[in-house]
């Protein structure tokens, strides 16, 4: 990071003194102020900022909830209700945290599908992209651990089902399971360690987010054309242009968030989780939170325990191979007429899988889930490599600026000097 190019020039003597010892102001300046941003980014590109806002919201509300929560099998349920009833604004903190998890996933799914549509995963952004997949995995782990903490029926049975999934892993499965349980079943030691891990993982996410942003600022942002910044006229400085757009989009997203907190706080949850955990009774319909449903459908589509588990984890891990499975050199689906259709089919299949994940595993639902699961993997293993080989992409615009203003038209003003635009691809 020390070699990071910056145009920041400290003005005061104190700032100079500090900058020569720890160039953090220059780092922030080059990453969030002078950083060249493609001028044609649409609002799908604001979800990175929204995700950072949601991560911050989750960590802060979580830390405050932990001041009142008691992680034990006997006290957890009542301590959550204590937060809801007695703690000043406790209901707000808890609803913000519970719905915040859902909003976090809403934003991450928009972010992921934006990535897939515009081909942001392709070279040179493979590492950036894989770090994103790692963040997604960590988010899923954190969300699962957090959902067990109220120790309602869904918490308990979710913990039971997921830890049993891990037991399917050959050779080490049973050991992993008993290490997670800390006993012979899901119980008091389990909730205690789940709480500890639930508190730990968000900080690991924050760490990987730093790497993710770092990698982003090495390669620069992709954009709707998929072509790189070629001159200063293609870009604008991050501040104020991207900053204000991100702040605006984040506040608009907060309206959605607030709607759920204040008017539909339990809509995205399950009624059964207001029943205290009971190891003797499994709820009639046991389903995970909505953001896991597509993977849950894949798990249940396979009539074999280990096979289901492999396919479920495979469905996430296959994302990481997308940069190498996609053979097209054109990034953006805007210029890929055939693949674009497949993208939308893939999106619909994912939504349908989510819907099937919430349905009982019987009859037509199972058949539909199997068809969708097969398509899900076919998209990565067949469609991505083959369409790239046979498709004739549309002509790409000469530059980002040209895509905004139309070909041949000259624009007098632009955001950045050419030198600054070249910086992100060469310096780290």
């Amino acid at each position: 990071m020390s070699a990071h190019a910056t145009t920041y020039v400290p003005k005061s003597r104190l700032a100079k003194w500090f900058e020569s010892r720890l160039p953090i102001v220059g780092l922030v300046h080059s990453s969030f102020v002078a950083f060249p941003v493609p001028r044609n980014l649409n609002y799908f590109w604001t979800f990175g900022a929204i995700l950072i806002a949601m991560l911050a919201s989750q960590i802060i509300t979580g830390v405050w909830l932990a001041m009142h929560y008691e992680p034990s099998a006997t006290a957890a349920f009542n301590s959550v209700e204590h937060i809801m009833r007695d703690v000043n604004y406790g209901w707000l903190l808890r609803y913000a945290h519970a719905n915040g998890a859902s909003m976090f996933f809403v934003a991450v799914y928009v972010h992921i599908f934006r990535n897939l549509y515009y081909g942001s995963y392709k070279a040179p952004r493979e590492v950036l992209y894989i770090l994103g997949v790692i963040i997604y995995l960590l988010m899923m782990a954190t969300a699962f651990l957090g959902y067990t903490l109220p120790w309602g029926q869904m918490s308990f049975w979710g913990a039971t089902v997921i830890t049993n999934i891990l037991a399917a892993i050959p050779v080490v499965g049973d050991t992993i399971q008993s290490l997670l349980w800390g006993g012979y079943s899901v119980g008091n030691p389990t909730i205690n360690r789940f709480f500890s891990l639930h508190y730990l993982l968000p900080f690991m996410i924050a760490g990987v987010v730093v790497l993710h942003v770092w990698a982003l600022h090495v390669t620069g942002q992709n954009n709707p054309t998929g072509i790189p910044i070629k001159s200063g006229k293609d870009a604008v400085p991050f501040t104020p242009y991207a900053t204000i757009k991100d702040v605006f989009a984040t506040v608009v997203f907060m309206i959605l968030f607030a709607w759920f907190i204040f008017y539909q706080p339990n809509y995205l949850g399950h009624a059964d989780n207001y029943v205290p955990a009971n190891p003797a009774v499994t709820p009639a319909h046991i389903v995970p939170e909505w953001y896991f449903l597509p993977f849950y459908a894949i798990l249940r589509a396979v009539p074999d325990k280990l096979g289901g588990v492999i396919l479920m984890f495979g469905a996430v891990l296959i994302l990481a191979f997308a940069p190498w499975l996609d053979t097209s050199r054109v990034r953006s689906c805007n210029y890929r007429p055939i693949y674009r259709q497949f993208f939308w089919v893939f999106l619909i299949v994912c939504v349908v899988l989510g819907w099937l994940g919430a349905k009982p595993p019987e009859g037509g639902y199972v058949l539909a889930a199997r068809i969708c699961t097969a398509y899900y993997f076919a998209h990565f293993l067949i469609v991505m490599p083959l369409v790239g080989l046979f498709e004739t992409p549309k002509a790409l615009p000469g530059s980002i600026l040209e895509s905004v203003t139309g070909p041949g038209k000259q624009v007098s003003g632009s955001g950045l000097p050419t030198g600054a635009a070249a910086a992100p691809t060469t310096k780290g």
Binding site: V33, I60, W64, M67, H68, H82, R85, D86, V87, N88, Y89, G90, L92, L93, T239, P240, T243, I244, V247
Partner: protein, 191 residues
């Protein structure tokens, strides 16, 4: 937002510039108000919650079983309170002290209820840094704090530092000669 405002300043075009400045200022103020409003629930949630406040209801203490010279411990709102049955000698010692000798001058009569000089009711944490002083010890035979050596007399008044003030008297009232109610004084609940 500071940067946004700075950019706004860069192109002042008369009325256009003024309107622009106002827009930026109003938005900046809106964001600041929003951030402040968000902070409030977090701060408020750290204050004692409704259950804690409700649990601080007054408690009743039966004095009948307490022997002369005995000090008993009771808890109200989680705070330690000493109830001390004083002997005639201890009462006289407490009453005869000259005000000029005291660090925190207060007559003994102001520290007990009228007609109930036998009973001393004080908070049980040293006013220095909160340790629990040991009864019937030290030069003044009231309390002696094991942490930093503060000494209290039989009226719970500090006689030697570092403690700055006397052991405070909690709000309480006599229900009968042998029963007190801590947490309520003159029919009013403590704040």
């Amino acid at each position: 937002m500071a940067n946004t405002a700075a950019t706004g300043d860069a192109t002042p075009h008369g009325a256009e510039g003024t309107r622009r400045d106002f827009l930026f200022l109003a938005t900046g103020a809106g964001l600041a108000v929003g951030a402040g409003a968000v902070a409030w629930p977090f701060i408020a949630s750290m204050a004692p919650d409704a259950a804690t406040i409700a649990a601080g209801a007054p408690i009743e203490v039966d004095l009948a079983p307490i022997q002369e010279g005995q000090i008993i411990n009771v808890f109200w709102r989680g705070k330690l309170i000493f109830v001390r049955s004083r002997s005639e000698k201890e009462i006289k010692e407490a009453q005869d002290v000259k005000m000029s000798e005291l660090i925190d001058p207060q007559p003994d009569s102001a520290r007990v209820k009228e007609g109930h000089a036998k009973w001393l009711v004080v908070y049980g944490n040293c006013t220095h840094l909160g340790c629990v002083p040991i009864g019937h010890q030290g030069q003044y035979e009231g309390w002696s704090c094991p942490c930093h050596g503060s000494l209290y007399d039989t009226s719970g008044r500090v006689r030697r530092g570092p403690a700055p003030t006397n052991l405070p008297v909690p709000p309480y009232a006599f229900q009968s000669d042998t029963k007190i109610r801590i947490g309520e004084e003159g029919g009013k609940a403590a704040a």
